[in-house]
Symmetry: C2
Subunit: 279 residues, 2 copies
């Protein structure tokens, strides 16, 4: 089995009593600063699975995950505390905290169960359309060189119809036609296949779709909820994220994730804070 | 000020140290049994607002709420424990437990802030179409007489195009054309206007839209997330709830709530468990 970066980066050292030591790496930060919320959710999800009996136990998959972000954690060591709230027949429910400097920075709770990869009893939709990966746009070339961020760890290729390119920047044709949506292909840079824990990352893998709304600066997530609905097929994921309403300094981001077999494998939503545009 | 039933039923007796005593009434049960999840979320939301400084404080409105249901609580006394995780400038973050018989039955967390009732910076959509209330169908007449349930406390009038009527029951024309969606008007039976805490109830005010899928029996919610996006205008709410995927014993329910002024005032999603249909 090859070792992938994401698995190393989300590895936990068991410190007993439901406590784990983790190391938050530069590789999963946004623009070189704060660790990405989806990465943190995946890290806590691994702790929740461990608390539920581990990947070899009866409940190996996080199926529902929700996290609240009190203070953005920093790169470096952190402690994860996992508390089993209930062990049931079909699911184990776990509450987690991510603690740094004696402060709880992220609180999360999980329903950990088992996805069987069965055929859906019901499914309303087919995946949204997306141009072929080679006709989509990677953002990595727009980043300043030398700064290690999440964009080195996952490959995101955006549908150009959903990209807003600020004036003066070199962008593709057809941008900003849809101001509050992003559609993209998502894959791990090192080819790691997606699994339920990886889907927790994918559920927050795109930035907020807000540049077209005139919003700049940090759009901190307050709350993130993700449901993992299937065992993803090999291959890149299709991710769509859109904002329905931005009002009173708060905006939603609704996300759906489809696998290469055309199955809806994750659903997510977030509530984030924004500062109104100037002028 | 008139006293409304919902306010009485969600009232809390402050027991100090972030603890509150509550009484779960028969009036908010589903089919006479377990208290409704949205009612519990609203009750815990009131505790979260109290912990954040109360309705007269700087953060009077629950804006994000998520709850996990470990064991269905019973009608009767309960204790609510609220723990402030962080007091920030724009929001207070609170974690709550609902405890009965020394067992934590519901865990919830809240972002409590202030909705200003401003004009949206961005809004993607207009409300879905719904026939006039007098052309919609109340389910109260289908309930056995003498059983007090939530259906006595809120008035739900369903769009007949979304109603599935089992064989042998007296139903309206045009049923079951859309099998995994319900659309309805929602109002309090005693005319109480909706507010942010009331919207937490509305976000789980409809039953699962699953009868058309051949599912019968209890569809217990594992996790429920609701975002309150606005201060609702007076008048009934329009609520749409739909299931996108049912697979591996788990189904989602995605809910949106619009007010009488055509604003999206709440968004919600749940993950629930089901038993596959027989035969």
């Amino acid at each position: 089995m090859p070792t992938f970066q994401f698995d190393e980066d989300t590895s936990l050292a068991d410190a007993g009593d439901g406590k784990f030591r983790a190391e938050l790496p530069q590789r999963w930060t946004i623009d070189g600063g704060r660790p990405n919320g989806g990465f943190l959710l995946a890290l806590l999800g691994r702790a929740a699975v461990e608390a539920a009996g581990g990947p070899g136990g009866p409940h190996p998959h996080p199926v529902a995950a929700t996290s609240q972000y009190m203070t953005a954690p920093s790169v470096g060591p952190a402690e994860v505390r996992a508390e089993v709230m209930r062990r049931g027949r079909t699911a184990t429910q776990v509450r987690c905290l991510l603690v740094q400097d004696d402060e709880a920075k992220v609180a999360a709770s999980f329903v950990v169960g088992r996805l069987a990869g069965g055929d859906p009893l019901w499914s309303t939709e087919s995946p949204f359309a997306l141009p072929a990966p080679e006709d989509c746009v990677s953002m990595r070339r727009m980043m300043p060189p030398g700064v290690t961020t999440m964009r080195d760890s996952i490959e995101v290729r955006y549908d150009p119809a959903t990209l807003f390119i600020p004036a003066g920047m070199d962008g593709p044709e057809g941008h900003a036609s849809e101001p509050a949506v992003l559609r993209a292909w998502l894959s791990f840079a090192d080819g790691r296949p997606f699994d339920p824990v990886g889907l927790l990352l994918a559920a927050d893998g795109l930035p907020p779709a807000v540049t077209g709304l005139g919003l700049a600066g940090w759009v901190p997530t307050l709350q993130l909820t993700a449901y993992v609905r299937g065992l993803p097929a090999p291959g890149p994921l299709r991710v769509r994220q859109s904002t329905r309403v931005a009002v009173d300094g708060l905006l939603d981001e609704v996300c759906e994730v489809w696998d290469d077999d055309g199955r809806l494998v994750a659903q997510a939503s977030q509530l984030a804070a924004y500062r109104p545009p100037q002028g």
